[in-house]
């Protein structure tokens, strides 16, 4: 869905890192985790997930390693220590931001101004 894909911008890195929190995955499995974890709302074209993973790998947030699976070369990714720190930071920032916005949208009293 295009609207959801648009909303994903700016959060994709954190979401990709989060899919690797429980262990290594390959590109297709990461895309599937993103789609399934979002109830199908974040269903990116699979081919566009790979360059994002390459960028995260170049930044040292994840690392990739090759293996053989079903007669094919397969690259799997895992979080690096720097990736774990980034994920923890992004998660804390998001929780703080979303808690604030939710409070405002759900009718918290606005401060009086003069």
């Amino acid at each position: 869905m295009k609207a959801e894909a648009q909303a994903l911008k700016g959060h994709l890195d954190a979401l990709l890192l989060a899919t690797l929190e429980d262990g290594p995955r390959h590109g297709y499995a990461i895309k599937e985790a993103l789609r399934d974890g979002s109830g199908g709302r974040f269903d990116l074209p699979t081919g566009t997930v790979y360059p994002a993973l390459h960028r995260l790998a170049a930044a040292g947030l994840i690392s990739g390693s090759w293996s053989q699976a079903d007669g094919r070369r397969r690259r799997s990714y895992r979080l690096t220590p720097a990736g774990r720190r980034r994920l923890a930071g992004d998660r804390a920032s998001w929780l703080e931001f979303s808690t604030t916005v939710t409070a405002l949208l759900e009718g918290a009293p606005w401060p009086a101004t003069t």
Partner: protein, 190 residues
């Protein structure tokens, strides 16, 4: 390959632009997507079509690779900070009357031409849309830029009579850019 002409054609199209490792990774993902579609009960042709649709059109995939390539990203950063570094050096060169420095005219011309070539290479990489190979133009551009910064810095250091603020400003700008460029180089040539 996944064993279907549509998929093989799709991968061959990507392989004309992308590095072999990236294509191998895409081939694995596409084969898995195809297998899932077959397992879901689709016939071979329908499964291949569905797998390709799920992966995205080649232009979409190529554009994503180009957009996130280290070559294009580095080129954009260097082009953005170029005017700032240039302004710092212009301040120094004007305040120190650089036209009186004992630098041969041929060397000045070579420096100017090399600088123009660097800007052209970076602009070529930065404006790539689906042509991944274009993003590689930033690698030689960065290397030459590193040499130009070092040369300019060495020339100024041996020519400017005393350490004054315009020199400190220009040196700081160039050293920052050299650090940035040197850190990017392994990714660009990798």
């Amino acid at each position: 390959m996944a064993g279907h002409d549509l998929i093989d054609d799709y991968l061959a199209r990507l392989a004309r632009h992308l590095p072999a490792d990236a294509v191998a990774e895409l081939a694995d993902g596409l084969a898995e997507t195809y297998d899932r579609q077959l397992s879901a009960g689709l016939a071979k042709d329908a499964a291949a079509t569905a797998a390709i649709a799920e992966f995205g059109a080649p232009e979409v995939v190529l554009a994503a690779f180009v957009r996130q390539s280290p070559g294009r990203r580095t080129a954009l950063i260097l082009l953005a900070c170029g005017p700032v570094v240039g302004a710092c050096w212009a301040t120094l060169l004007i305040s120190e009357h650089a036209w009186t420095w004992p630098v041969p005219a041929g060397l000045r011309l070579a420096f100017g031409l090399a600088l123009v070539a660097v800007v052209a290479a970076l602009a070529y990489a930065a404006t790539a849309r689906t042509a991944y190979r274009r993003t590689r133009a930033s690698a030689p551009g960065c290397l030459v830029l590193l040499l130009l910064d070092a040369g300019l810095l060495a020339t100024a250091a041996t020519t400017v009579p005393a350490l004054r603020w315009p020199f400190a400003l220009a040196a700081a700008a160039s050293l920052t850019r050299m650090t940035l460029t040197a850190r990017a180089l392994p990714r660009l040539f990798g």
